[in-house]
Subunit: 236 residues, 2 copies
């Protein structure tokens, strides 16, 4: 039986070897929820970049560009970090460059893996269904907040562990902790997250609607995967 | 209201500033449980050192020495890493040098704090009672396992957060997660830890008795504190 492990923040990624592993990156508030929504609405590709400067370079070369820092849109970019901004028919087939505080950095740090997938509650079952067919170990990489752990990405990791608990072993305590927390909170995730630090950060920005949306399970049958430097939609 | 935060492993300590903070180090299986037991039985001081070589040097200078790596006693030392070894009247007033895989390293990494305390379930209420009188933030530093998070130290952090929840704010997700896990598991910690990786590691060594002992709450009214390079007993 292959192993499913959870890395609670990119600052602990040095403790994991990913070369025989599929990495699932989660930044559910809101980068990876945006990405999944964008592909569900027909975006062609998303290039995740680590810095605002790289993102601006790609914008000047014709990409639609999205840059977020500290939960706010950086001035001068085309798209923000709300998933509702990606429900736009004008984005069909578009190529997007994106940088966010945590999520895109987690993706760029995972390049050595067999595959890098983008996960969120919105495509939870699609990711699980794909992984059930794969012969590799799985590492869920929580994007966290500036190196720190966060509750929402940990809950996603626990949700994926829960879906895969018959097919993968949960041998490591990071995976056990995530799974226990998800089982403890799943009946009312919004309530369970009420005191989480990023929820408080986002509520100050008035985006409760985004939070409720990002916690919906299994809305889309879409699995974004990293091919070279771009995320594309994988047909599963 | 001061803040209680939890650092789930020493590999995340760089994200925390500890200069206006009291750090409580926990390595409940078994280093900090040994230390608390040793002071309860009258040991004079314990010098935590990071390496086996430093420990051997102190042994040659007359200290009783305890060295553990990978949950086993290193050959040639006087004491092992079982708390029962410290229930010995011959240790009264003795000075001990100790190095362990995770716990002593966590202590030596915390030296910049206002105070470094040693915590375990065995002295949980004694630590909580002392902290209720203090005007500083608190950081619970979980020793983890070779940089990784572990469930047992996280549960201790959650237990301390639970005891202090009226006096300290739990603003960060590390603290929230630890607290939620403790509340979820507290009615049967042995059962809750049954699949934890270090429990499986220890059970292979046949030391279930140590595990049950280390999970007992509030056995001793002892708070070890770091003074210079040595842990001593603080009267509270």
């Amino acid at each position: 039986m292959n192993n499913l492990d959870v890395c609670l923040t990119p600052d602990l990624l040095h403790l994991h070897t990913v070369d025989n592993t599929i990495v699932v990156v989660a930044d559910v508030f809101r980068a990876t929820s945006c990405m999944v929504t964008a592909f569900a609405y027909g975006v062609g590709s998303i290039i995740p970049v680590a810095t605002v400067d790289e993102c601006r370079d790609l914008q000047q070369r014709g990409y639609l560009a999205a840059a977020e820092r500290n939960a706010r849109t950086v001035e001068g970019f085309d798209l923000d970090n709300s998933p509702f901004s990606y429900m736009d028919e004008r984005l069909q087939g578009a190529d997007i460059a994106m940088t966010t505080t945590n999520g895109t950095l987690a993706i760029t740090k995972s390049r050595a893996a067999v595959k890098v997938l983008v996960g969120s509650f919105l495509n939870l079952e699609a990711v699980a269904r794909y992984l059930r067919t794969q012969p590799y170990d799985v590492l869920v990489l929580c994007a966290g907040w500036k190196g720190r752990v966060n509750l929402e990405d940990t809950l996603f990791a626990g949700a994926l562990a829960d879906r895969l608990r018959d097919e993968y072993a949960l041998n490591e305590d990071g995976a056990l902790m995530a799974h226990r927390l998800y089982v403890d909170g799943k009946d009312n995730l919004i309530n369970y997250l009420a005191n989480a630090s990023h929820i408080r950060r986002l509520q100050r920005l008035g985006i409760q609607k985004d939070i409720a949306y990002c916690l919906q399970h299994d809305l889309y049958d879409v699995v974004p995967v990293l091919r070279g430097s771009a995320l594309v939609r994988m047909d599963v």
